[in-house]
Symmetry: C2
Subunit: 426 residues, 2 copies
Amino acid sequence: MSETDNPNNPVDQIEQVAANGLLHRRAFLKTGALVASATPFLSAKAAPPEVDSWSTVPGRPPEAYGNRSEFESDVTRLAGFSPPALGAGASRAPLGNLEGIITPSALHFERHHNGIPNIDPAEHRLLIHGLVDKPLIFDMEALSRYPLVSRIQFLECSGNSRALDQAQPVPGSAQSLHGLLSCSEWTGVPLSILLDEAGVQTEGKWVLAEGADSSLMTRSIPMSKIRDDAIVAIYQNGERLRPGNGYPMRLFLPGWEGNTSVKWLRRLKVTAEPTMTRDETSKYSDLQPDGTAQLFSFQMGVKSVITSPSGEQTMRGPGLYQISGIAWTGAGSISRVEVSADGGRTWGEAELTEPVLSKALTRFRMPWRWNGEPVILQSRAIDETGAVQPTRTFLLNERGPQYGYHNHAIQSWQISANGEVSNVYA
Amino acid sequence: MSETDNPNNPVDQIEQVAANGLLHRRAFLKTGALVASATPFLSAKAAPPEVDSWSTVPGRPPEAYGNRSEFESDVTRLAGFSPPALGAGASRAPLGNLEGIITPSALHFERHHNGIPNIDPAEHRLLIHGLVDKPLIFDMEALSRYPLVSRIQFLECSGNSRALDQAQPVPGSAQSLHGLLSCSEWTGVPLSILLDEAGVQTEGKWVLAEGADSSLMTRSIPMSKIRDDAIVAIYQNGERLRPGNGYPMRLFLPGWEGNTSVKWLRRLKVTAEPTMTRDETSKYSDLQPDGTAQLFSFQMGVKSVITSPSGEQTMRGPGLYQISGIAWTGAGSISRVEVSADGGRTWGEAELTEPVLSKALTRFRMPWRWNGEPVILQSRAIDETGAVQPTRTFLLNERGPQYGYHNHAIQSWQISANGEVSNVYA
């Protein structure tokens, strides 16, 4: 393409920060007249657009509770459910179609163990009992009297990105490979306040959390996490929780594997030891190379994925692009994201979109000039503790073949000469 | 109520920061065993809850694009539309039912001049012309090639809160009185980049923005705002814009009156002077006491409103509450919100929920012990420029009776002895 090899083209004068066309993260802001000169897709005509049909007739009035455009109907969650257990499985957020950091609640990922219960909030109760001075039962009215806090934070299934455990790369998209991940503004009652009401006894070091779905999903949570930042969430992105995310109330444990944020929360039992429930022994533990299982590996690792371009998308020819992706860590805030266009040999720093929030998705973006040749794009995140997102090879070597959860390896997207983007190992 | 007059009750030992029970903003976090002791609504029983019907049968699988619970169906926008012009009017966000700062897109306020067009994004075009070196036409594919930025920011109709202009207080709720206000994460292309592509000529100081709806809504925008922070938004809360908010693209001018963020954007014409369109002369100008009109009064004032408790809600008896509300300013960030429970004589400082973002809603919260007697609750916001939200009396005296837009006066909620909350002037 002549556009990309012209010494008079301002694009060719921008600082390249890593191989294969990765440009300084603020190149778009520093250089005028930039994009069109590298973009053969712009149709430049002097004539005004024709008057479209919708500009000539009155439109419809708004709905009481609005819907999206009919032209967006193919942007959906990807569900993996099959008979006869229709309610057990997962649905994945369409990460490749989303931008920013908020996941619309209608597209938030879900993982159910026996389907979504239809709970009447007037009938639902939360019991706090066990090693407490005063057992308490809260109905929604009592709970909503308590002080609320709000935080924008991610939620990720511990089984997310498990496809990268496979020996050969599985064809897939950002959604199918990494879509058990979402980010919302959660509002709820700090759990420490409710436990103070009940009066936790000295020997109470764990809390069993139980959901009201028909799998009665149960996990043991250390008291330290409860005291730190656990909430009983009742709002998601401004409105009440969605049914698939625990309506009318769920536990929410920021930065921890999703299954511990027990949905449809009905019971919190204070215990001296972990309860060793079915859900933390038959699964949600990490098998080690020596055959033992690591239990209670709650915190999600530092991770990132490029969502544009990403698997199953197609490039629209050589030229200037903005690489866009998301990064997150259970340890707190993302401090840096780097991008490689040569399979991990050289790296350039991406720009982080403000606000960069603790235990939230962070959007990163980076200008890139693709010359039309095959390349492998990667991103790697570094968090506030200095932890660096590992390569797949490093992670699998360290963990052995039985591990199965918490895959937070670097994703490699191969872009072929025809513009197709696919999952590869590099 | 004995709970509120007991010297042994920890609630009565908390620092009161203003009259009628306003407590230190961190009282909930500093004092254990606090809420229940002041809350007669808590039902404390030792027995576990009964097993509800939904815990005994498999639930349903998730939807591809999810819906909310049937039990939330009464939380809707409040629409003021009437035949024969079905599409002209406004719908208001249910502020009293929302928490946090994100407005779900399904409940975002709308103001339409001739209804919502059903635009095919494959057919829609954006023209940039006028005083430019090279007129350009963008289709969605060309536009989406450009670099994106994301920001969480409010949008408010300039006619919001107009009810407070009335001589007598209008019965109403936070929704009906102030619901032409919402806050989303907006993602779009910085307009300065598009104008750089077109090459703005020296005399180009204004931009005419035109929508593709059948009212062809048009406003003149100063070039300084375009250069500052204007974007062509294509995503709202992670997904593509909703039809009622400009799908597939809208102008978004942070902190400015909503009508200038022209929806369904089809044309940007660079001009030397403002175009003086119908939409900026017959309306959206501010009539002064001397009969002249102030044009181009774009920036929204510093403002706040308590959403809980708020108009048409009912208190559940005396005891401890968390007052919750929202504050915002077109000038940048909120620096402080104060709350009064005695009609504005004494004020205490509320806690601001992080993140406090520029030109976004900021959630504030404050603990309050209501003793059951009639009170008047108010909030007043102060922004980073030092601007203070004015009283209604001050604002109307300053502006005269014809003004009609930009009412950002302090809202007074009266709580009567029976717990009813209503709009009053104080």
